[in-house]
């Protein structure tokens, strides 16, 4: 099936493209980019006037709970949520049951993703067996089956020696180690940022140091082993400063941030104990939030990710201290960025494309996608003027635990193309 996208404002910083063009897709590729293109016979013409066309968005940090916790999300429902949110690729974290720590587990996710037929599933393998932090997982086997990166996300690898072994071993493959930085001897029992929030609400605190200490450790292990390091869901100003300093030294260190750490902080948690605001790492200070926003602007943060963490209603509709950590994010990520950073001109469209499409592909060692002839037709078309209200009914995700319920946001993906196939059409997921 061929598609001619007429009059889209295409933005691709990789090739310096930032203008209104026509783009013709045929098969799995972009076959022409230009002005006044004529639709070949049989091609569907899509009026893209007023919309933005960008390389397909990539969320390199999601939890699809499949296998093991299919009551929260499956690869199919997660793919629908990703597509609805405008994504062509998602990288799935390995804290499934069983933990995705073998080539078989990687193959399962890729096959399930293909069966769902919406977005590319890019599985991340565990660093250690069972994410227990004790013995190396079969990392090479997983690379051969298609793992795009390695992480024990959900836990920090507690032993520095074990992390050194992991990073040393990963360094032979062209893959990054993704570090969930949490020193559990400091964060034990912590359910909320340590400080004002923990005092006000009377709960054990999760101190910033618990994160920053492991960021520092893993940067030094990057220096020692040469293994490229990617810091997951960075949440504090000081942690970001450590990453900045490592980059300035030329170390292969990158990092990511979530929309909830960019747009929410501990002051948003009030005496109603809204458990959709319970995160790991927790919402931090307002000053941290603003520092992270600056990191998106100045380039020290590489990627925007959601840490999409679906949980069933009964796992969130309970007392804060026993509620599960996390928020879903795939379907609000782009609207939040458009509303709070692009519309306000805090960042340009080009910068948005870098953090949501270009950089995640590089970190995951995926082939570049460019808006030019011959490139893979993985594209996202965005309507910047469409308003959405975030309600439970809005979500394709199986779970509804969003920190942003009730928000009204401006700008959303209208169409998504994956391998030239239209997976989202006018805001409606295919199938």
């Amino acid at each position: 099936m061929a598609f001619l996208l007429k009059g889209a404002h295409a933005v691709d910083p990789q090739i310096g493209l930032d203008e209104v063009v026509d783009v013709l897709l045929d098969g799995k590729e972009i076959v022409e980019v230009g002005h006044g293109l004529e639709a070949p016979e049989g091609a569907e013409v899509i009026d893209a006037a007023g919309k933005y066309l960008v390389p397909g968005l990539v969320d390199m940090h999601v939890h699809f709970r499949d296998p093991g916790f299919e009551y929260k999300e499956t690869i199919e429902t997660g793919s629908r949520a990703a597509t609805h949110g405008g994504f062509t690729d998602v990288a799935t974290m390995p804290n499934t049951d069983p933990v995705t720590d073998t080539g078989t587990g990687i193959r399962y996710q890729i096959d399930r993703g293909r069966a769902a037929g919406l977005c590319h599933i890019r599985p991340i393998g565990a660093l250690t067996r069972g994410e227990k932090g004790e013995a190396l997982a079969e990392i090479g086997d997983m690379v051969l089956e298609g793992a795009c990166a390695f992480s024990d996300d959900g836990h920090g690898v507690q032993g520095a020696g074990m992390m050194r072994t992991c990073m040393g071993y990963v360094s032979q493959f062209d893959r990054v180690a993704i570090a969930h930085c949490e020193d559990e001897s400091l964060t034990a029992h912590g359910v909320i940022n340590e400080g004002k929030a923990s005092t006000r609400l009377g709960m054990f605190g999760w101190p910033a140091l618990g994160e920053e200490l492991e960021i520092y450790r893993d940067i030094e292990l990057c220096r020692l082993t040469g293994c490229p390091l990617h810091i997951a869901h960075i949440s504090t100003e000081k942690g970001l400063d450590l990453v900045r300093a490592a980059k300035a030294e030329g170390l292969p260190v990158t990092c990511e941030v979530t929309p909830h750490h960019l747009f929410l902080n501990e002051d948003d948690i009030d005496s109603t104990y809204n458990t959709n605001l319970k995160m790991n790492p927790p919402l931090r200070l307002k000053s941290d939030m603003l520092a992270l926003r600056k990191g998106i602007v100045d380039g020290s943060i590489d990627c925007l990710v959601t840490d999409h963490a679906p949980h069933a209603q009964h796992e969130k509709d309970c007392e804060w201290e026993i509620a599960f950590f996390g928020t879903i994010g795939l379907e609000t990520s782009l609207p939040l960025m458009l509303t709070n950073m692009v519309r306000t001109r805090e960042i340009s469209w080009s910068r948005l494309v870098e953090v949501m499409a270009v950089n995640p592909r590089r970190v995951l060692r995926l082939a570049d996608v460019k808006i030019e002839k011959g490139s893979k037709a993985d594209l996202t078309l965005i309507d910047p003027e469409k308003e959405i209200t975030v309600t439970e009914d809005y979500f394709e995700s199986k779970s509804k635990n969003s920190a942003f319920l009730g928000d009204t946001l401006m700008g959303v993906a209208s169409d998504v193309f994956v391998d030239g196939k239209r997976t989202l059409a006018n805001g409606v997921v295919a199938q």
Partner: protein
């Protein structure tokens, strides 16, 4: 009328709310302390559920007696008999009881925010009888009652709250209530027992009990919450007693009219020595008595009673 529908925390209470509670409690003295038939019909026909999800002796007894004094119908549940233990969610438990049509929930819970969560599942009035490390507002009211009764006022008094501040819902509710009433509060305890953010309380803090003992009107000793330690942050009972325990030597340095309070249960020989607990300055049993009065007042006012309408 109080300015709040439920009694969840003390920082939502105005000085007027607190004064109403204390004055109403004073009016109940004649019911509880002055006669043989200790009962008035103030809450006849009203139904109160005592939901105690965490062990409690004095608070639970105090509420139950206060309910009986006011002629309310009450039901006590919790602990090993509750369906929460069987894995039922809090929301389901509350909705189930609520469907039986009750007027008030008294809740004691291990988890912070539980009383707030209850308010989301019922229109009945909710009183927090202690939630995790968060708040224990009815304890604060009985403490204020005891202190006011001794001094005749609260404003301008100097109060040292001493001990395990970090794990203490008593401190969390008492300090803001004292400040609302114009008292000055100092937090005393080892650094590892200090609250995460003392600035939020707006109270000075010190590591030294000896530094403040001779200048305060009230020495409020907190129980060391041995069950909430989870990774001990003090080396031993013996050392704690030596550095922070209230012994007769320290008591002898207190101001002439100064008093000693403790929310109980006491760890005798740890935060407070036995002879101190039983000495003339101790108001510990007065606090227990005030607990019945102030809880009567809270239930009465929250269920629509007027401060001046008591026919005791």
């Amino acid at each position: 009328m109080l300015s709040v529908k439920n009694l969840i925390d003390t920082y939502s209470l105005t000085a007027d709310d607190i004064t109403q509670i204390l004055d109403t409690a004073a009016a109940f003295e004649s019911v509880n302390n002055g006669r043989v038939i200790k009962k008035v019909p103030a809450l006849r026909g009203r139904t109160i559920v005592n939901l105690f999800l965490e062990p409690s002796t004095r608070t639970k007894s105090s509420f139950e007696l206060a309910e009986k004094r006011l002629s309310a119908d009450s039901l006590s549940m919790g602990g090993s008999t509750s369906s929460v233990v069987k894995g039922e969610s809090l929301a389901d438990t509350i909705q189930t009881i609520d469907a039986m049509n009750v007027d008030m929930f008294i809740c004691r819970a291990r988890l912070a925010g539980t009383p707030q969560k209850i308010t989301e599942n019922t229109d009945a009035v909710v009183i927090n009888a202690g939630d995790g490390k968060h708040q224990h507002p009815t304890q604060a009211m009985l403490d204020l009652y005891t202190i006011r009764k001794h001094f005749g006022h609260l404003d301008g008094l100097k109060v040292a709250i001493v001990g395990d501040l970090a794990h203490s819902r008593v401190c969390g509710s008492l300090a803001p209530a004292l400040k609302t009433m114009g008292a000055e509060v100092t937090l005393v305890g080892p650094p590892t027992f200090q609250v995460d953010d003392p600035d939020w309380f707006g109270c000075p803090q010190t590591w030294s009990l000896d530094e403040v003992i001779d200048s305060v009107d009230v020495v409020y000793m907190l129980r060391v919450q041995l069950e909430r330690m989870e990774g001990a942050t003090i080396p031993s009972r013996r050392e704690y007693n030596r550095l922070y325990g209230l012994d007769m030597k320290r008591v002898s340095r207190m101001k002439d009219n100064a008093i000693i309070c403790h929310p109980g249960p006491m760890n005798r020989g740890m935060e407070i020595n036995a002879d101190v607990a039983d000495c003339a300055r101790s108001r510990i049993l007065d606090q227990v008595n005030a607990g019945v009065l102030t809880r009567m007042a809270e239930m009465y006012l929250l269920l629509g009673g007027e401060n001046n309408g008591i026919s005791a």
